[in-house]
Amino acid sequence: MAAALTDAPAPGASDPPAPAIRLLIVDDHPVVRDGTAALLAAQPGIDVVGTAGSIDEATALIAATPADVVLLDIRLGTDSGLRLLTETPGDAPAIIVLTAYDYPQYAEAALRLGASGFVLKTAPLAELLDAIRRVAGGGMAFSIRPRAGSGLARLSERELDVVRLVVDGRSNDEIGARLGIGPKTVESHLRRLFERFDLASRTELATRALREGWLEVPPGT
């Protein structure tokens, strides 16, 4: 997989930028997949360059086909489409999660895992097209607003480790020793977290992390 990824040309590197948005569709339901593809292909400025029915197919497709936007279904048989979000590298095309479920928890997870958009399958076509265009232009498009704070807690691995130990009630020295970094570094991590989330104390940080599920593990890990 890694070899395929490095062999693949970076999007837009090998050929000049096309005026049409290159779209990939990932959905396990063939009728819906083809129907959506046909519907979108008929729209001006959109070029459906490939479709996939599973995560493995999608991974191969993304590696092989230069594209701008991926439409990703969450339920792929018994698999979770969200896994693709955790597995795609940083230079992969932008991903819009397209799902039948209007749960905010999905929107939050999608945001936290790096999706650029979240659109319901039953949303009006105009909304979907708008989302595709915005995301292709580097923007974000979430038709369900993640609740305040929650999904926005996009933390680095190291920050997550620090938060996890703060929730455990560890001191800066203990956290430093556990993670193999200096207490000063722990302090600066914490200061940045406090600023970013407008927090006053480690207790507040722990409470917030517990309430909003910051420590939630991504699917497929």
Binding site: D28, H29, V31, V32, G35, T36, L39, I74, R75, T78, S80, L82, A100, Y101, D102, Y103, Q105, Y106, E108, A109, K121, T122, P124, L125, R164, V167, T207, A209, L210, R211, G213, L215, E216, V217, P219, T221
Partner: protein
């Protein structure tokens, strides 16, 4: 591991020691009464010349100077027997003389001297003054003493063989798991405790105080490994400490009783019975505590069929040495044989069928739960994968054709179908785990609760889908109960780490009553039972209680096995 190895070695050493000591009286020592005979000053009578103060004869009251009337069944002295007159008309008789008129030796000095080297099986003894002052009319005070050494030797050898058979066959039987899975680990300690009484029975039967004391101490030592191994099976730390103290106390008491055999007690039977009881009690108490009957605290979870069987096995293992110990009381192998037969019959016709029944019931329950969940998941998948997807496409087509009213209706139907899917099997649970699923559940419940429902969650790890589903179902049930019977604020705490999951749900209502589980079952409400079964199924511990200040507390703890 090394501790159990050490224990097994200790038990083996005790077993070998017991057999070695048991063999000693059979090979080296004869069953000597501790009497040395000699000729009196005239050389015409055989008398007791010396009595070993540690021998059985001494305890039987044989004293130096007593005259031998008969030796190993052969009369040495004819004592005068009365001669009666012929009956008078009233039927009365009078003594008219004696035959012989005075005690008469039947064996001469040479014959007596020849007897001196013969080992003693039985003696009739008389005090010298009784011999002199005796009259045929009054009768002579003759005391009979029997020391049938060869008979005891045969019996002891037989018991020793039984002990050896128990040791070999028992170890194989138990270590291969034929006696029950629970007992596998305690094969050597258990077999040692049961075989040792047979091994040392020759010592006990020798009636030599020192040998009896040694036998008693060996038996105490043989019980200790089994007691310790049983105490290790006690789950509760406080109970385990109690068992250790009890083992120590019984060991000390039984040892004191064993050593007391050296002195000459007034009532040896009482002492023997006490020693038997104390020695037997060493493994019984930890066995019973491990089995559970002494655990007075309310069981937090149903032990299930396996638990019952396990409890029975441990309790029986602790009690079995008591019956083996009865071998020393002259009853031989019978008590143990009867006990083992009773166990075998009860096991064959009662315990195992019941356990099988219970296992089947549990299995059926789990199958029902699994089938229900599978059916729900299948229904949800069918609706989502086919109906909902095609409906979505239809909405788009309607929209494309300009029928926005039709599209709107389609969207409403899709919303309904999605809600049904979510109730059947929440997709969030599979995709994102218990934490986000609880997040969804809490938001939904809050609308019904009419007050604050708060979730504090930390999901550091995902676990087996079956476990996650069971924990989510318990949370659903507990939250439904909290809304129905309790009062907000309701607090849900969920924490998942690679080391396990803990879930706690607290409400501010009046709290669950102690009679609630029984009442609910009678009224046909199975919420609590459902929670208990779900917890049982994944091996979690469920604790439902009322805080002293009111409010129901439902806690679930799960650790991966």
């Amino acid at each position: 591991m090394s501790a159990s190895l050490l224990r097994d070695r200790f038990a083996l050493v005790i077993a070998v020691l017991a057999f070695a000591c048991g063999l000693l009286p059979l090979t080296i020592a004869r069953y000597e009464p501790g009497i040395r005979l000699g000729l009196d000053s005239t050389g015409e009578r055989l008398v007791v010349a010396a009595v070993d103060p540690f021998g059985p004869a001494y305890q039987d009251g044989v004293q130096v100077g007593m005259v031998v009337v008969s030796f190993n069944g052969t009369p040495l002295i004819d004592l005068p027997q009365p001669i009666y007159s012929s009956p008078d008309p009233n039927g009365g008789q009078t003594v008219v003389g004696a035959e012989p008129s005075a005690p008469r030796n039947r064996v001469g000095p040479d014959g007596l001297a020849a007897l001196l080297g013969t080992s003693i099986d039985g003696l009739d003894l008389i005090e010298p003054w009784d011999l002199v002052s005796g009259r045929a009319v009054q009768g002579y005070v003759v005391q009979g003493f029997f020391y049938p050494g060869w008979r005891d030797g045969e019996r002891s050898a037989f018991l020793l063989l039984i002990g050896l058979a128990i040791l070999l066959v028992g170890t194989w039987w138990i270590a291969t798991g034929r006696a029950g899975e629970q007992l596998r680990g305690l094969a050597i300690p258990l077999v040692t405790a049961v075989a040792a009484p047979f091994a040392v029975s020759s010592l006990a039967d020798s009636r030599l105080p020192l040998a009896m004391a040694l036998a008693g101490l060996l038996l105490v030592a043989a019980m200790i490994p089994l007691a310790v191994v049983l105490a290790e099976r006690i789950e509760d730390a406080a109970d385990r400490r109690f068992a250790h103290v009890a083992i120590a106390l019984f060991t000390i008491a039984a040892s004191i009783m064993a050593v007391s055999s050296i002195s000459q007690p007034l009532n040896r039977d009482t002492l023997d019975n006490l020693r038997w009881a104390f020695t037997g009690a060493i493994p019984i108490l930890p066995g019973f505590i491990a089995a559970g009957p002494l655990d007075l605290r309310a069981g937090r979870t149903n032990p299930g069929a396996g638990g019952l069987l396990r409890a029975t096995e441990l309790g029986l293992a602790g009690a079995t040495p008591l019956f083996a110990l009865a071998a020393g009381g002259g009853l031989g192998v019978w008590p143990l044989a009867l006990w083992l037969t009773a166990i075998a019959l009860a096991g064959r016709f009662t315990v195992r069928p019941l356990a099988r029944l219970a296992t089947r019931a549990t299995l059926q329950r789990d199958l029902v739960v699994a089938a229900t969940e599978a059916e729900r998941a299948r229904l949800a998948a069918d609706i989502h994968d086919d109906a909902l997807q095609e409906l979505t496409l239809l909405v788009r087509r309607l929209e494309a054709s300009g029928d926005s009213e039709g599209a709107e209706i389609g969207r409403t139907v899709a919303d309904r179908l999605r809600a049904i899917c979510g109730d059947l099997r929440l997709p969030i649970l599979d995709d994102l785990g218990v934490g986000p699923a609880l997040d969804w559940l809490v938001l939904r419940i809050e609308r019904l609760a009419g007050g604050e429902v708060r979730l504090e969650r930390s999901d550091d790890a995902r676990h087996n889908p079956d476990v996650e589903l069971a924990i989510f179902r318990v949370a659903q049930e507990a939250l439904a109960n909290a809304v129905k019977h309790g009062k907000p604020p309701i607090v849900v705490r969920y924490r998942s780490t690679p080391g396990g999951i803990s879930l706690a749900i607290d409400d501010a209502g009046p709290g669950i009553s102690d009679a609630a589980p029984a009442d609910a079952e009678k009224a046909g409400r199975f919420g609590l039972l459902n929670m208990a079964q779900r917890a049982d199924q994944i091996g979690a511990i469920l604790d439902v209680k009322r805080w002293p200040s009111g409010g129901t507390h439902v806690a679930l703890e799960w650790r991966p096995r």
